[in-house]
């Protein structure tokens, strides 16, 4: 039973948790690029190209990390923090 729960925690972290983190990365990255003077489309294109490389790395880390809890915490907090920062920065720029 405990093993099943662990597997579920890691599989959901690898797909959903990574998604949350990458969402934040894309949001924050685009606004950072625009703040740095890039055209919006260029910034978005750049982040889209990097997004899936980060996703693959996060996916693998979700299984290789020692603690599943730490993985989930990093993804959730990292994703939320970057999304919030991106949103605030976009408000300043817009």
């Amino acid at each position: 039973m405990k093993k099943t729960a662990l597997v579920v925690a890691r599989v959901t972290a690898s797909l959903l948790g990574s998604y949350v983190l990458v969402w934040g990365f894309v949001t924050f990255g685009i606004t950072l690029g625009v703040a740095g003077g890039m055209p919006y489309d260029d910034s978005q294109t750049l982040l889209y190209m990097l997004a899936f490389l980060l996703f693959v790395a996060c996916f693998c880390w979700a299984f290789s990390a020692k603690s599943a809890l730490r993985v989930w915490l990093c993804f959730a907090f990292g994703g939320a923090l970057m999304t919030l920062s991106g949103w605030l920065l976009a408000g300043k720029l817009g």
Partner: protein, 560 residues
């Protein structure tokens, strides 16, 4: 949970490979067929079997046809459901036409505004397909099996509900990248295995060798496709610009539109359209001046009949990896150049190159075939992975009376041979169904799904021998079905159109000759596979050799 990075990657490789492997075979297979989607269209729609045509004269040929296009009745009915009654005549928004170096026919598109208070961008479409040589309208309801059935299968599996198909393909693509990475981690001795194929040593060993060989030989290719595919549809997977960053995105869109000077909205004042042919001449002159003379790939008239109207002429990307581009925009009423798009920035240049690598619009037939073989090597890699999974477990499952390996084997049959059978089924149905049949395209699609379902049912019914750790006869029987259907498809093409191989080859008409030859090659391979399988079924499985299972197979390290 795992003792090392390598054992974690082994677990991921085994179980994600199993769950998404079936989907990946299908995506790789139909992606490979999509490389020749236009050519498959020619096979399926015999009245379009003629040479590629450049974009014809707009003023003389296309304009009268554009003016005769009507909104699609089905879309009108759906629009009425959204907004109630519609005015007698909808406002025409834009016209467009797109062609490539592989298209003999030309499809013309029109968009019409739907007055909808809750969605200012609401619109419906209309389109016609013409023979550009004469301007004659072609039947619009013929199913272009390559570009309108196999290609959508590749990108969205024909699952339309809430874009679910795109998401499934996206997850599969992401997992493919992970499988490649974890595969490299598991098989550390990458280069030694690259040169290793022990075809006659031991079935399990040769399966694994083939798995590694096909995976490694085209590794950059296998990495490039899922990655660029994800980037192409990134807007669906991370729609930040439509949600969280919408205000910022819209603001920048307006700034950019202002800089270009292209009117976003119609003015409401009517104005005539000046000669588009003259604009095409000017666009070609400008491309030549930039050292890249070319043909028109995409042509669009925005705000048709309005004073703010403009004409955009894009260059076809047949001679380079990146797609259509280098647009020149003209004022519709005067023919004056409003804006010539500058060379792309570094970022969009890289992105366009990656997109172009995946969508391959360039003219290079050898490379096109290499794409197909690369795609098929991906299919073989994934399929041998699935078969290896079964082979490794069926003896133990047989001893324990567990059905797991049996189900995986049946699904593998339906995904590998079943997909080919369904593909051949739709081609055979395309040639067998009467020409004037109502809803012909629906029957063709039905034949595809029916063949696939029958293959699955057959694979399940015949899977009992797997329980005794033997080979399911479904593999061999479906190979025979493939051989039969492929030959029947070639014969039906001959009987119904007169285009036998002797004629198409003599004429040098390769879209049809190529598919016929590929079908015959498929039949030959399927027959050889069936013979091989019969020999295997007859000889009892040799006992597992000592020292084989653990120390030679890294895959065994940590899975369950």
């Amino acid at each position: 949970m795992f003792s090392s990075f390598r054992s974690a990657m082994t677990w991921v490789h085994t179980w994600f490979g199993l769950v998404l492997g079936f989907l990946l075979v299908v995506i790789f297979f139909f992606g490979s067929l999509s490389v020749f989607d236009r050519e498959i269209d020619r096979w399926a729609i015999p009245e379009t079997r003629f040479e590629h045509q450049p974009m014809p004269s707009f003023d003389a040929r296309l304009r009268p046809i554009f003016e005769s296009i009507q909104p699609d009745p089905n879309e009108l009915a759906q629009a009425r459901e959204r907004v109630g009654t519609l005015p007698e005549k909808l406002r025409l928004m834009n016209w467009s036409a797109y062609t490539t170096h592989r298209d003999p026919v030309l499809t013309l598109y029109a968009e019409y505004a739907v007055p909808n208070p809750s969605d200012p961008d609401d619109h419906v479409h209309g389109h016609v397909t013409i023979d550009p040589r004469s301007g004659k309208l072609l039947q619009n309801d013929r199913l272009a099996i390559g570009s309108a059935f196999f290609y959508p299968m590749h990108i969205s599996l024909h699952v339309q509900w809430h874009d679910l198909g795109y998401w499934l393909v996206g997850v599969a693509a992401l997992v493919m990248l992970v499988l490649l990475l974890s595969g490299v981690v598991i098989h550390k001795k990458l280069f030694r295995e690259f040169f290793t194929f022990r075809a006659h040593k031991h079935t399990q060993r040769s399966k694994l060798d083939l798995h590694n060989l096909t995976g490694v030989v085209a590794l950059p290719f296998h990495i490039m496709f899922p990655l660029t595919g994800l980037v192409i549809f990134a807007g669906i997977y991370f729609p930040v610009s439509q949600t969280l960053l919408k205000p910022l995105a819209e603001k920048h869109e307006q700034i950019e539109a202002q800089a270009r000077g292209l009117p976003h909205q119609p003015s409401g004042v009517a104005a005539p359209l000046s000669s588009v042919d003259a604009m095409v001449v000017e666009a070609k002159r400008r491309w030549a001046k930039r050292g890249m003379p070319g043909e028109v790939g995409f042509l669009q008239v925005t705000h048709v009949g309005d004073k703010s109207g403009y004409v955009s002429i894009f260059r076809a990307g047949s001679d380079r990896v990146t797609l259509v581009g280098q647009a020149v925009h003209f004022e519709a009423a005067t023919g004056r150049v409003i804006y010539e798009e500058p060379p792309p920035s570094a970022v969009s240049g890289i992105s366009e190159f990656l997109t172009g690598l995946h969508l391959q619009h360039f003219q290079h037939w050898l490379l096109r075939w290499l794409y197909v073989f690369g795609g098929f090597s991906g299919c073989i890699c994934i399929a041998t992975g699935l078969v290896f999974f079964v082979g490794k477990r069926k003896r133990r499952h047989a001893a324990e009376g567990v059905h797991g390996a049996r189900w995986v084997d049946a699904l593998a049959v339906a995904t590998v041979t079943g997909t080919v059978i369904a593909t051949l089924g739709i081609l055979v149905a395309n040639r067998l169904l009467p020409e004037g049949l109502d809803q012909r395209a629906t029957w063709e699609r039905g034949a595809f799904w029916a063949c696939w379902s029958m293959s699955l049912v057959h694979a399940v019914i015949r899977s009992a021998p797997v329980l005794q750790a033997r080979i399911s006869p479904a593999w061999r029987e479906q190979c025979h079905a493939i051989a039969g259907l492929a030959v029947i498809a070639v014969l039906l093409n001959w009987v119904t159109t007169g285009d036998h191989l002797g004629r198409t080859l003599a004429r040098g008409y390769y879209p049809v000759a190529g598919l016929d030859l590929a079908l015959l090659a498929t039949a030959a391979i399927a027959l050889a596979a069936a013979r091989h399988l019969r020999a295997r079924e007859a000889t009892p499985m040799p006992e597992e050799r000592d020292g084989f299972s653990v120390d030679t197979l890294a895959v065994d390290a940590a899975d369950g």
